[in-house]
């Protein structure tokens, strides 16, 4: 019997992986070849999806991108023994795009069976929790602090410090909440991890629970991710069945249970306090801080809120040691970040690298330039609240502080490439429009300012009093930056002002008209 691995990752499915898997089953049955297909996550080399990997004596051999119509020829050519074929990629680990990465958080994604706790353990899973149980609460927290891990959701707050605040809080009930709202355009790492290695997130949350004495966890998953939602539910059921969740995790006497909840299409619910309100069954309104969620969080109890990647990195840190993790990176950005290459790029995908690689290397070496083949004009890093950078800024290293120094942000590590057909005035208008649509409505600068921003950019683009209206846009940005409760209103000026600063010509296209009556 030959073992075959075909991704079930939503991106691979969108490219036809389900149809390919069905065709492999069908053709193998008609030719009498015995196979067993395991549906894995994706390795994140999307231009090669759908891939088929075959277990052979020399390790796995990959073929891709495979169309259903290729399957017969592949099997005929001897794919099951790793034979030659124009679609043969070879050993996936040796593809340079993957070989040059440092896969820590994503070590198992695309390799393991995401439905199997047993397979997870066979690939090193639960070594982290085993060590964590030996270290105990403060020992775990010290280790997370020493690793230098900063929150991967966007704000970059040190994870160990957050955990120690929750650990020190006195309460009859504490919670661990995973932020899987991943709303930023250009990001999909949380989705890939949940679909490809859900036990890793479960293990990370369990370690967090043990560290601070929380017995209950929730994963808040955006409704746009139905595949990830199902994968997490299946994995939670399997982990509970196997005793990795429940009244006594791995027989340790620590109780920890997990539940999932679905978001409902509101970007603001990625903001942690809005997320907590939504989890409580309310409208997702942003709460004023203090009190911090670490002190007064879900249902008023001390709560860890962390991004998927922050939590899913903890098992690696526990298993390999804080020092091993902190060895990667630059400055105050320690470890690796799973970057996501997206938009108009030839080789989009998941690129986990130590901090410090330049944006240019990412886009040119990994991405292979634009997909359209036209010149690159702008890159937006960090989601809808991130800056648009021109070519001159591409040598900026991917590091929290280096990006801040250029008035940008790394956010959740999404990198969106635009070619020379992009109109930055339209992008600036979209930033305001998005803020107007997604604002929770609590503060006037965010709610009203964004709507006025859309109208004002429309006037500029129409050539109506451009100088005066540009001044109004800058004033609006200042009011939003200073007068917003959260980063939705507070950072919407970042894409707008970066578009104005680096691409002023896009705001001057129309002939100037006289002021409208």
């Amino acid at each position: 019997m030959t073992r075959i691995f075909i991704p079930k990752d939503a991106q691979a499915v969108a490219l036809g992986a389900d149809r390919v898997a069905r065709e492999v089953e069908r053709v193998a049955a008609t030719t009498g070849q015995t196979i067993a297909i395991t549906r894995t996550g994706s390795r994140g080399l999307f231009w090669l999806e759908p891939t088929i990997e075959i277990e052979t004596a020399e390790g796995r051999i990959a073929y891709g991108p495979v169309k259903p119509g290729d399957v017969e020829a592949l099997l005929e050519a001897g794919m099951l023994s790793g034979a030659a074929h124009p679609l043969r990629i070879g050993r996936p680990e040796e593809v340079s795009y993957l070989a040059r990465q440092t896969r820590l958080t994503f070590a198992r994604v695309g390799i393991v069976d995401p439905m199997s706790a047993q397979d997870y353990v066979a690939h090193g899973g639960y070594a982290g929790l085993t060590r964590a149980l030996e270290l105990g609460g403060t020992g775990i927290i010290d280790e997370v602090k020493a690793s230098g891990l900063r929150g991967r959701g966007g704000a970059g707050f040190p994870t160990g410090i957050k955990w120690s605040t929750v650990g020190l809080a006195e309460a009859d009930q504490k919670y661990v909440v995973c932020n899987a709202d991943e709303g930023d355009s250009g990001t999909f790492a949380d989705r890939m991890l949940m679909e490809g290695d859900p036990f890793c997130l479960i293990e990370g949350m369990t370690i967090a629970g043990v560290a601070v004495g929380a017995t209950k966890g929730f994963i808040y998953i955006r409704s746009e991710y139905p595949h990830a939602f199902r994968a997490m539910n299946d994995a939670i059921a399997a982990a509970t069945q196997a005793g990795y969740l429940g009244p006594s995790v791995m027989g340790s006497g620590h109780a920890f249970t997990l539940e999932t909840r679905l978001g409902a299409g509101a970007y603001i619910c990625g903001e942690e306090t809005s997320l907590l309100d939504s989890l409580e069954g309310k409208r997702g309104m942003v709460r004023a801080k203090p009190p911090l969620p670490a002190i007064k969080g879900l249902f008023g109890k001390p709560t860890i809120v962390n991004n998927v990647l922050s939590l899913a990195t903890v098992p690696w840190i526990m298993a390999n040691g804080a020092a091993a993790y902190a060895d990667f990176g630059m400055g105050r950005s320690r470890g690796t970040l799973p970057f996501q290459l997206a938009g108009n790029v030839r080789r989009g995908g998941l690129v986990e690298l130590a901090f410090g690689t330049t944006l240019r290397e990412m886009i040119e070496w990994y991405g292979g330039g634009t997909r359209s083949g036209r010149p690159l004009r702008a890159v937006q890093v960090g989601g809808p609240l991130g800056a648009y950078f021109p070519d001159e800024l591409l040598d900026t290293p991917l590091d929290y502080e280096a990006f801040a120094a250029k008035n940008g942000l790394l956010g959740h590590g999404g990198i969106v490439v635009f070619d020379d057909t992009v109109d930055l005035a339209a992008q600036a208008r979209f930033a305001f429009e998005f803020c107007a649509t997604e604002s929770c409505g609590k503060c006037t600068p965010c709610r009203i300012g964004s709507t006025r921003g859309v109208e004002t950019i429309d006037r500029i683009v129409a050539g109506i009093e451009p100088a005066r209206n540009l001044e109004i846009v800058r004033d609006l940005c200042e009011v939003m930056t200073d007068g917003s409760l959260c980063a939705m209103g507070g950072l919407t000026p970042v894409p707008v002002l970066s578009a104005l600063a680096h691409f002023p010509e896009d705001f001057q296209r129309a002939p100037t008209l006289m002021a409208a009556e």
């Binding site: 939503a10 969108a14 355009s185 999909f188 890939m192 929730f218 069954g281 997206a342 989009g348």
Partner: protein
């Protein structure tokens, strides 16, 4: 996709099944929409009663979230991504094309009840855009030609 026609006793069962969850409102609303395809406003007092919350509070939740429809959708739902990474590869042209071909705007349903068109901000398929969900099936490289082909496949 097929949904149950609105039925208060089915709604009662759906609500009861999720009422004991922490923060039950959202799971209940999702389950109702999954059952009926939309959230009938008649459920507001029903949920309020069961969860011992005010009607105003439940109404506020239903209307806050973009996902919850107030009308039954068409037989097929096409959600097209409007976010930046998809914009960089033609999402705006795709959306204009889809609206023109279907003769509807966002959230509209074709007169024959066949297709509902909804906007979505990112599906996590940003490396191979434009992206869409067609009846919950993810689709990549959804250019106008792919849209036309897919539309032809959608049965009545």
């Amino acid at each position: 996709m097929t949904y149950e026609p609105w039925d208060a006793s089915i709604a009662d069962e759906v609500i009861a099944r999720h009422a004991r969850l922490d923060g039950a409102t959202m799971p209940i609303l999702h389950a109702l929409q999954e059952t009926f395809g939309y959230v009938d406003r008649a459920v507001v007092p029903m949920i309020a009663d069961v969860l011992n919350l005010s009607r105003a509070e439940i109404h506020g939740v239903v209307t806050f979230y973009h996902d919850f429809r107030s009308e039954p959708p068409g037989r097929h739902v096409v959600k097209i991504c409007r976010a930046e990474a998809c914009q960089s590869v033609g999402a705006v042209a795709l959306a204009d094309h889809a609206k023109r071909v279907l003769g509807i705007d966002w959230h509209g349903t074709t007169a024959d009840g066949r297709v509902t068109l909804e906007p979505v901000f990112c599906l996590g398929l940003c490396a191979c855009g434009p992206a869409a969900l067609v009846d919950d099936e993810p689709v990549s490289s959804f250019d106008p030609a792919a849209f036309d082909a897919r539309l032809a496949e959608l049965r009545a």
